[in-house]
């Protein structure tokens, strides 16, 4: 585990707030982060049209509260891929001045950012809020598999079963942290994993 110092690649997140100078607002969120959207919808709303795309997960489903607040501006998707498909369509039709907001786990946030970037939206112009869980997606540098929802500093790769040390180096393109085999020098010498990303 690395802490107490700052690594440039590790992104910093803020809580979402409305950008009132705009032509439209598009919000995407998944699971637990539905709560961030609920909170946002309780604030003074901007005058421009709002669209919310939400993918509930097994852990959390805020659809009910969201429906009551956003009405027909809310679109709920059973699968995440459907949400991205709709987001892509919206990006295609959107004009400059459309503000983009993403709330979710880190992997979700950077998928939204990457998709927006393919439409010429700069990374800094997508507002991102990380959902309450700090769980990481980890990219295994050995077999290139991404393992999701990793809460510990040492994790087993879902692709090659190696024990990976979860580093602070973050790839925005992949939306994941680098994972390196921990017992490469001394096979079998794996320290105890600690839950550091609850």
């Amino acid at each position: 585990m690395q802490h107490g110092y700052w690594i440039r690649s590790k992104p910093v997140y803020h809580s979402l707030s409305w950008q009132h100078r705009a032509q439209a607002h598009v919000l995407v969120a998944n699971g637990e982060a539905g709560r961030s959207i609920v909170r946002l919808l309780h604030q003074r709303l901007p005058d421009q049209p709002i669209t919310v795309l939400y993918h509930p997960t097994q852990e959390a489903d805020y659809s009910k509260s969201l429906v009551s607040l956003a009405g027909e501006n809310l679109h709920v998707f059973k699968r995440e891929s459907e949400l991205w498909h709709r987001f892509e369509q919206i990006l295609q039709q959107s004009v400059m001045g459309t503000r983009l907001y993403a709330a979710g786990n880190e992997y979700f946030l950077w998928q939204a950012t990457t998709l927006a970037a393919s439409h010429g939206v700069l990374s800094g112009d997508v507002m991102r809020e990380q959902a309450s869980s700090l769980a990481r997606s980890v990219y295994c540098v050995h077999c290139k598999t991404i393992s999701h929802r990793v809460t510990t500093n040492i994790a087993i790769c879902t692709g090659c079963q190696r024990h990976l040390l979860v580093r602070d180096h973050f790839s925005r393109r992949l939306g994941a942290y680098m994972g390196l085999m921990i017992d490469a020098e001394e096979p079998g010498n794996v320290p105890e994993a600690e839950e550091v990303y609850p």
Partner: protein, 317 residues
């Protein structure tokens, strides 16, 4: 700064009060390459002083044999544009700086809207060549007082066809910025060069519509304004320089043999920034570079366009 030596190979009047100069390398070779939107600073040795003005390069970046610039005779010229119009002849030798680009086309943009007012067309001349070469999606909006003030219009029409949209004020064709900026697809970048009023109007319209700053580009070279004379003290060299009413602090330092840094000479790039140590008056900030807080602190100055109302000012140089 090392200069490029050039010879004027052609001069042509392209519109009312606008002259077009072609430069070739004095040694007959190739000139340094540049990218669309670049400018050079031309040194003009008048009899009593040297003027240095920044001019956009108009030619295609692919053409390394010539550079071209356009100079509009400024009604209240401090001398630079008048020198170019009256003293410079075909065959004249001039020193110019290496090309510098403070107004490049965004590489990540998906569409580009160029907006020119009057002589503000100049930086776009080289940019359109670059945009055409890369096959980018773009359009050029050109606003002018009347056709005789619209320099390069024939050339642009030929080059761009329907991607050129003219706004002839004498025909009451006004450029509706609100309409233009509210209908652009995501990923569009806008670039504006022209009179201050037009630049400000575009910047504030884009801001109100929620365009992110990084998508809005402008170039506005200011001419150093006239003020009152004062004395400049330079701490490190111990020199004392008199700044006349019609010269900028930067020009006064250069005339006194001080090697002060600069790039744009128009208050835009930030290169000339100097630290103010003391003054018995107030600084008159004219640049677009320092933030309001920095201007208010009175600790920094851009000597290419700013000056002071004082009897002396001391700089850390």
């Amino acid at each position: 700064m090392s200069a490029l030596k050039v010879i004027v190979s052609a001069i042509e009047q392209v519109a009312d009060g606008i002259c077009h100069f072609t430069f070739a390398a004095a040694d007959g070779g190739e000139l340094p390459g540049f990218s669309g939107g670049s400018h050079v600073v031309v040194s003009m040795p008048a009899h009593n002083r040297t003027y240095r003005n920044a001019y956009s390069l108009l030619s295609s970046p692919a053409d390394r044999r010539n550079y071209q610039i356009a100079v509009r005779l400024q009604e209240q010229s401090r001398g630079g544009s008048r020198f170019m119009h009256e003293q410079v002849k075909v065959g004249s030798r001039l020193d110019i700086s290496w090309p510098v680009n403070l107004f490049p086309i965004s590489r990540v943009g998906h569409k580009h809207i160029l907006v020119a007012g009057g002589i503000g067309i100049t930086p776009f001349m080289s940019q359109v060549h670059e945009l055409l070469r890369t096959g980018a999606d773009f359009e050029l909006h050109y606003a002018f007082r009347s056709p005789q003030y619209a320099g390069f219009i024939d050339q642009l029409q030929q080059l761009l066809g329907k991607n050129l949209i003219c706004h002839d004020q004498s025909q009451r064709q006004v450029l509706d910025l609100q309409a233009l900026l509210s209908q652009q697809p995501l990923g569009t970048h806008v670039y504006v060069c022209g009179p201050a009023g037009m630049v400000d109007a575009l910047l504030s319209t884009a801001y109100e519509l929620g365009w992110p700053d990084a998508h809005v580009h402008h170039e506005e070279f200011l001419a150093p304004p006239i003020g009152e004379p004062f004395t400049l003290r330079l701490k490190q060299s111990g020199k004392s320089v008199e700044v006349g009413a019609e010269v900028s602090m930067l020009e006064a330092m250069e005339a006194a043999g001080v090697d002060a840094p600069y790039l744009c000479r128009g208050g835009a790039c930030g290169r000339c920034e100097l630290e103010v140590l003391a003054t018995d008056g107030v600084i008159e900030h004219h640049d677009h570079y320092l933030s309001d807080a920095e201007k208010g602190s009175g600790k920094k100055i851009m000597p290419c366009v700013s000056r002071a109302k004082c009897s002396f000012i001391e700089l850390n140089l």
